[in-house]
Symmetry: C2
Subunit: 187 residues, 2 copies
Amino acid sequence: MTIKMEETKNPLRNIVKSEFPYKGRIIDVRVDTVKFPSGSEKIREVVLHRPAVAMLAEDADGGVYLVKQYRHAIDAEIYEIPAGLVEDGEDPACTAARELQEEIGLRPGRLEKIAEMYSSPGFTTEKITLYYAAELAASKLPEDEDEYIKVRRFLPDELDVLVRSGAIRDGKTLAAYYWLAARRGGR
Amino acid sequence: MTIKMEETKNPLRNIVKSEFPYKGRIIDVRVDTVKFPSGSEKIREVVLHRPAVAMLAEDADGGVYLVKQYRHAIDAEIYEIPAGLVEDGEDPACTAARELQEEIGLRPGRLEKIAEMYSSPGFTTEKITLYYAAELAASKLPEDEDEYIKVRRFLPDELDVLVRSGAIRDGKTLAAYYWLAARRGGR
């Protein structure tokens, strides 16, 4: 796993010990002992995670594509915008185009970067590049094995109802939805 | 650490083995071996994390309060809306009011739940309850030790510039910003 970190010389980054208690498939855990300016020492737990992409795909009629999938970590089936992990050396925009074809069978003619966001900077390196995808054309790539996902298209009003009901519980998906709502001129 | 999970009987949740390779301060790691309907077995890594709250605090003049703090995991100092972890047995709304007093020295007269969002449901249980806080009154509670945070108030135009420049890189903060932009009737 390659994680590119921004190097700082922050006075709060006085690491006196660093250990890797777990190295796994999609995450590694690093535990740093940090000495603060006050003299006290504390540990900081870091979950190393690959960068990811997520795509708000909107068609010419305002339809937005969500995937419903079972998420083991939270033991629930939830709606999310299409997303995926960036492979080593892959351009995030290429990941975005590839994942859209794998997950919803559409290739974006236009891909606009909305933002780069850390999903939870208090403990993990995971960074998601969020895209707006448009000018969608049919183009299906095979899905990963054991991905059991259902794709659904929502019109603006349907999506508003879904969000207001609390059915959308994924951070990146809510961020994308509010972004779109702001762009459409408010809800 | 108490994590409340929604129980499902999802056919994709056939856990044949479960291990805890790391139990730490703010996270535990659980590794499950899952047998899929296809017959294949895969591992699923889960980072157990306490629930959190985050607050978009807006004063009567449209000023929004952000805290700038060094985040060890990403080795960078970033702007975020005030946030904190929910203590065992604590009502998230109480956490929100407490953290606002600790971090920005203001107590909300009104607290409106915007959404509950999983920060990254692919691998972690962390759920953030996002609030809109208003009718702010001066009320300072002491900060946690070794919290080196700076508070800054941004007017709507200043915040727009900050987001457009890419300086806001925290997921919950961007979600809150877009939510506010949509409510204000678009950017």
